[in-house]
Structure formats: structure tokens, C-alpha cells
Symmetry: C2
Subunit: 448 residues, 2 copies
């Protein structure tokens, strides 16, 4: 069972830390993993956190620092000098070390890198710093176990022994030729089950999937998810093996993708959390609220064109929310179905025409049902027939138009390289409000 974090334990820890009672702190943290201790550090200020970390062995402390959220870690590392930071980073995988170095102020980056105690790691870090964060090169770690295709199983085991300290989790051994060119993989299980003098050439899988350093992280995630891979080797343009990406990094990518999409759909323009400051939260939310406001002003302008209609039949005003809400709902439904298709793209795309015919069929069906219900309800509530007609016909048209808007917008955004989820956010509601009002009052203008 995982270590239990309780408010009681937290209180005891806070007392112990305040009294600078090191042995008590260590006692209380007995059994806590680095993940648990990272959770605990969020409850302490930077000075106290530093005190706690210094009581723990460097390797665990490094894992804890790696586990902290970026914003907390940035603040936290300010109280350490370059030497201390380098000492911790030395215990991490190269990809994690680079991520942390990239968060440091520019002039501190080099200071930390030159102080890394291990020359091999310095090389790894400098190599990885060249890659963009969002591509395979930016995700990969340099630590992996590589064996030559001409080796025997025994030579491989020696190599594993040599690298054991650096490579925490071994999924596969990657097989290269004399020029370091990637050839395939051999599983650890296969190594165990083969005789000591078996040649790697006889047991490796030559058709292993690999990715190039420049591949986008979401493509890497899709590929690993699709083929159920636990790790994937990364090769450069020359076909040389340069790193590997493990599934835990991909789990992070998928989680971040989902979070980003949620924020976009909700109209939040920066990566914020409930825990962030009031100012930051306001700033992240204002842009889309302002766009909504602008949409509202344009909507007001549209209705004011039909001032005479409203004055003649004030009941027209009553159904404004019904029209705008339905347009918004239909638009978001349509766009998120497209966003979902784009996310789980099939190998053979259906043509645009087939897609739109289907959108039209669904829209016709839903539009008919909704209009009929509204017409029925209006009659029951003894509204004048002509008004009931106007509302039903306008609603029907709004459903059709909003369906097309909702379907086309994400497709167009995707074409221009913009995240299509943007079409499921306040954007689509705002656009549909204006469109819906125009349709509604135009129909009223014609029929009344």
C-alpha cells in the first residue's frame, strides 16, 4: 500500500521542521516515496523545503525535484547555487535534466551544465538541448542499452551490467551495426532465455518501429498508443540510434493534451490551474470573455437593425435565448465530433462530400424534431400561429447552419495548423449567436 499522507502527519512534520529536528523529520517520512515527498513539499516554503531535501539522499532528492510542478520548482531552485543544482541533476535521466535546465534563467543554464560531474552526461545534455521540446528529440532520453549486432548474449549482459546504474528501466536492448545505425531490438526476456554464446544477429527483431528526432510529440504518442509500445527508439536523419522514449513520458503527453483541450474548450487561454494567483487566473480568462463581449455587442447591433419588428411584436424578444442557446449547443456538438475524429484519425479518410451529407442528414433530423416540439409547445401555450411559425422555421435553419459551422470550423483550423478544439470553445458559441440572431430576425422580418 502506498504511504498515507494525512493532515495529522503534515502537522507533525511542520512542527519537526520548525524545530529543525532532522531525525524526527526522517522518522516521519519513513516509507514515503519521492512522489509523496514532492506532494508534501508543496505545503512548505522554499527555505523549509530546502532543509527537508538536505536531510534526504541526493538521488531521492533529485527525483523529488524532478517531480515538482514547474512553477514551484522554478521558485525552489532559486535558493540553490549552480553547483548544488548540478549535483542533483547528475542523478536524473538526461531528458529530465534538460527539462529542468531549460527552466533556469539563461545565464544560469551554462553554469549548471559545466558543473555536471559526469562528462558523458554533459555531452548528453548539450546534445538534447538542441531539440525542440515538443518533438521526439525533446522527449527522448539518451540513456539506453545498445548492443552491436555481432555481439553474443554474454557481451550484452556485460553491457547491461556496465549501464545498469544509468538505465533505470530496461524494456528492450537496441541493436546497431558497426556504424551505430539502428537495426532492431531484442527484448530482455529473449536475452534471459537465450544461451550465453548466441549471436544477437540470430535473435533480434529487425522490423522494430522507430521514430525520427523531428517527429511531433503527439504523433509519437499516437504511434506508441496504436502499436502498444512501452518504449520506442529515436533515430536521427542518418538512421543512427540517438535516444529512446519511454511510455511514462507518453502518458504525460496524453494527459497534457487532454488538459490543453479542456482549457481550449472552456475558453481559457493560458495554462492555469485553480491554485494559480488571482491575477493570473483573471488574465487567462479575460481574452475569451472579451471576445464573447464583442460578440454580444455585435449581436445587439444585429437586433437593433430589427428594432421595428421587436417594437411591433415584443414576444420576439422572448425567444432570443432559445435561438442562441440551441445554435451554440448544436455547434459545439458538431465541432467536438469532428475534433474527436481528427484525434483518432483512421488510415483511409472519408471525403469531405460524404462527411457533409451526413452532417446535413443529422441536422435535418434534429432540426425537424426540435422545430416540431417548439411549434407544438407554442400552440399548447396558445401563442399566435404566425409567431410559432417564425420561431420553428428560424430554429430549423439555425440547427442546419450551426451544424455546418461546427463541422467546417475545426476542419479549417486543422488545415491552418491551429488546434481544432478551439472550434468547440467560446468561439463557436459567439459566432453562432450572431448567425442565429440574423437568421431569426430575418425570418421574422419576412414572415411577420
Amino acid at each position: 500500500m502506498p504511504f498515507e499522507l494525512s493532515n495529522e502527519l503534515l502537522q507533525q512534520l511542520q512542527e519537526a521542521v520548525e524545530e529543525r529536528n532532522g531525525s524526527r523529520v526522517i522518522d516521519l517520512l519513513e516509507g514515503a516515496s519521492y512522489v509523496d515527498i514532492a506532494d508534501i513539499l508543496y505545503e512548505f516554503n522554499t527555505e523549509d523545503s530546502k532543509y527537508i531535501l538536505e536531510l534526504i539522499d541526493d538521488e531521492t532528492a533529485a527525483d523529488i525535484i524532478n517531480e515538482l510542478e514547474e512553477s514551484t520548482r522554478v521558485k525552489f531552485l532559486r535558493v540553490f547555487n549552480a553547483e548544488e543544482i548540478a549535483e542533483y541533476l547528475h542523478h536524473l535521466d538526461s531528458d529530465d535534466a534538460v527539462d529542468i535546465i531549460n527552466e533556469l534563467p539563461n545565464k544560469e543554464k551554462d553554469e549548471v551544465i559545466v558543473r555536471l560531474p559526469d562528462e558523458e552526461m554533459r555531452g548528453y545534455v548539450l546534445d538534447l538541448m538542441r531539440y525542440d521540446e515538443d518533438c521526439a528529440g525533446g522527449l527522448m532520453a539518451k540513456e539506453l542499452i545498445k548492443c552491436n549486432v555481432n555481439w553474443t548474449v554474454n557481451q550484452c549482459i556485460d553491457e547491461i551490467r556496465r549501464q545498469a546504474e544509468n538505465v533505470e528501466r530496461i524494456y528492450s536492448l537496441y541493436v546497431v551495426d558497426n556504424d551505430e545505425k539502428f537495426l532492431g531490438r531484442v527484448s530482455l526476456k529473449r536475452i534471459i532465455l537465450s544461451k550465453d554464446n548466441t549471436l544477437i544477429a540470430d535473435i533480434y527483431e529487425p522490423e522494430a518501429i522507430s521514430v525520427e528526432t523531428s517527429m511531433d510529440e503527439e504523433e509519437v504518442a499516437d504511434l506508441m498508443r496504436k502499436y502498444d509500445l512501452d518504449s520506442v527508439p529515436v533515430i536521427n536523419v542518418l538512421g543512427k540510434l540517438v535516444g529512446r522514449i519511454t511510455i511514462d513520458d507518453i502518458v504525460d503527453v496524453i494527459t497534457e493534451q487532454a488538459e490543453e483541450e479542456r482549457q481550449i474548450m472552456a475558453g481559457i487561454s493560458e495554462d492555469v490551474e485553480e491554485d494559480d494567483g488571482v491575477w493570473m487566473l483573471s488574465r487567462a480568462r479575460l481574452p475569451w470573455l472579451l471576445i464573447g463581449l464583442l460578440g454580444g455587442m455585435i449581436g445587439a447591433r444585429v437586433i437593433s437593425y430589427f428594432d421595428e419588428q421587436v417594437q411591433a411584436v415584443t414576444a420576439l424578444a422572448f425567444f432570443i435565448p432559445l435561438i442562441t442557446a440551441t445554435g451554440g449547443n448544436v455547434g459545439i456538438q458538431s465541432s467536438s465530433l469532428v475534433v474527436q475524429s481528427l484525434a483518432t484519425r483512421s488510415a483511409f479518410e472519408k471525403g469531405m462530400f460524404t462527411r457533409l451529407i451526413k452532417v446535413l442528414s443529422v441536422a435535418l433530423l434534429n432540426g425537424l424534431v426540435l422545430s416540431a416540439i417548439v411549434f407544438g409547445a407554442s400552440v399548447v401555450l396558445s401563442m399566435p400561429y404566425d409567431l410559432a411559425f417564425v420561431i420553428s422555421i428560424a430554429l430549423f435553419n439555425v440547427v442546419i447552419l450551426a451544424s455546418f459551422m461546427g463541422t467546417l470550423t475545426p476542419l479549417i483550423l486543422e488545415k491552418f495548423g491551429v488546434n481544432p478544439a478551439l472550434a468547440s470553445g467560446p468561439f463557436i458559441t459567439t459566432a453562432n449567436d450572431i448567425l442565429g440572431l440574423t437568421v431569426y430576425f430575418t425570418v421574422a422580418h419576412i414572415l411577420l
Copy 2:
């Protein structure tokens, strides 16, 4: 590089299948993995798919069937008899086999199970059928490598050899005592690096994390994500080792979670895709559209109470969309921030009071900015001061109220065990529409 699926290849395949030219089909599928072939099968009808599968070895065919989407697989398996299905399932892991059996018609389930050629697997399947699909028991596979704490490394390697065919990917060996009670794990790397006669007791990690069969799948996902686990052992209430969950299953859980949330936020009430039929798509979308419609009717009723105001100042009607849109946007922003917090829950929860104070601060700030802008714009557009006042004051109140609605609704839903993302969907917009209209016209009634 993965096998390339092209429309050209598809056409050639379709011709070859039509001519029942088996050797040509096999040639064309050269290098295609089971994932690729599954993608291809979506383009064929059931009879042709069966023909293709029968050309392929049973093990790959089983993987292909496992890879198909549920709705396609259900249709597809109808053309196979219980004997044939059992023959394929025999090649899958027990958890995948059970998932497929659960999709069969009830009377066929038993027929397939009794025809499974391997007695051990029959036992596994019957055991797994007892668990709910959404809990750890329903996710786990029975296939794993288990070793007794008193064994030597050499005995473990023998066990690996014995199980090698059944357990495709070995991450760790699980250590049990003489009563099958779970004690801990030992990594494959450790086995390779240890001498043959080393005792497992001396090298295993006793503090390994495990989960109980009843744990909810989302909790399992959170745990594995948090502790970066590639696999986790599952124990029953007696502490006995009964299965293991691997990270690829968790990747699926996380992906499904994100998809489910997207559909809920978009107001789609069934698990549908763009590819589904027109009727199914309409049915999935209508419930929330109808709720939106009902909201619109209630909104109409609210405005009709203030008929006199609208008749006196028709310009009041112009700003209805502005009020409802802003309320909706603020509500969705607030609720999705809460949903995000709930998804990445920290160990020490902030109290409700702290949370609401912050919500209030952000709402006050955003409300002030928006009201000021609307007031400014109204003056610039030379609207009467009193109307500008009404709109600004109403807008300010709507922002505050919608923030609270958006914050409290997901928290309340979560308390009642309902997916809190529901609060970010059409529900919150509909509720905020009614609330916003009430506030707006009440303010107008008081001030005009």
C-alpha cells in the same frame, strides 16, 4: 518505419480479395502488423474480412480481432461459430479474451468458454468474468510471472522459460510467500545482474505498490501515472496476488477518460463517433438539445414577465445575447478549472472557504473589467446612461453568480458520484441563461 497504408494498396487488396486470390492478398499484406490489418478490415465487409483473416496465422488473426473496435467486432464475430472464436481467443491474454467474451450474446458466452482449448485459460477467464469492467479486477490479466520468495534466481529463470509463451511482456517478477501472499517485486534487470544461486529473498523490493481488485480504474490510472509505473500487481482482499495491470491498458483508460469528458462537455449523451449512423448520432445529441430547448422556453417565460420593460425600452432586448453569452462563458471557465483540479487532486485539499474566496476575487476582477468596458462602449455608442448602467450592473452580477454556479456545480456533482465534467456542458449554459436573464431584467425593473 511502419507499414504504409495507401488508397492504392487498398484498391489492389480489394481486387485480390474479390478474386479470392489468397497468395496475392498475402503478398500485399507483407510487412503489415496486426494494427495495420485491423485498420484495413474496416474497409471490407464481414465475409471478405473473414476470408482475409483465414489467410493469416491464428495468433496474428487473434491480435487483429482484439484490435478492432467493439461495434465492428460484434458484427464481425457473428459469422464465426463458438469453436472458431475460442480458437482465436486462446491466443490472447486473459483480460482481452474476457473483454471480447463479454461482448458476445449471453448464451454464446458459455459455449465459447467451454471450447477454450487450454484448461488454465478457462480458469483465468471464469475468474476474470466475476469482476466489474471498470475496476482493477476488470482491467487485470491473469498472465504474469510469479516467484516464491525462497527460490533462487536460477529457479526464477526456469519459471520465466516455462511461462515465456504466455507472458508477452515481462516488466517485473512478482514475489509471493508459500501462501501466495504478495510480498513485492524484482525487476528483470535485477535477475540478469544477479548470480544464479542468489536467493530472491535477498534481492526483491518489499515495498512495491499493489492495488486491490475493487479499486476503480481511474484510481488505478492516477496511481500508475503518479508513481510512473509500467505495471502494477493486483491483489485480492486476502492479500493474494491475482493478476497484473500493464501500462498499455492504462493508456487506454486515460484516452477513454479524455474522450468521455469531451463528449460530456459537448453535450453528447452516448459514446458515438462521426462514423456512426445518422440515427445513432441524432439520438446521442437530442437529449441535451431538448434540455437546452426547455431552458430556452423557461427563458422566454422569464422575459415575458418583464414584457412591460421590453415594450417601454426595446433596446433592453438588444443585450439579451450579451448577458447570456457572458454568463455561459464565465460558467464554463469556472467549472472546467474545478474539473481540472478534481482530476489532478493534490494530497492536501484546500478548504471550501479558501476556494470560494478566490473564486470571488477572480470574479470581482473580471466582472469589473467587463462592466467597465461595456459601460465605456455604451457611452461611446451614445446610448442612454441609464440603460448603460443597467447593462453594466447586470453583467457584473451575472459574472459573479455564474462563477459561483460554475464552481459549485462540479463539486456537488462529484459529491454525488456524477462525472463533474457534466457541469462544463450545456447544463451550465442553460442554467446560467435562465439565471442571467432573471438578474438582467430584475436590475432593469429596479433601475428603469
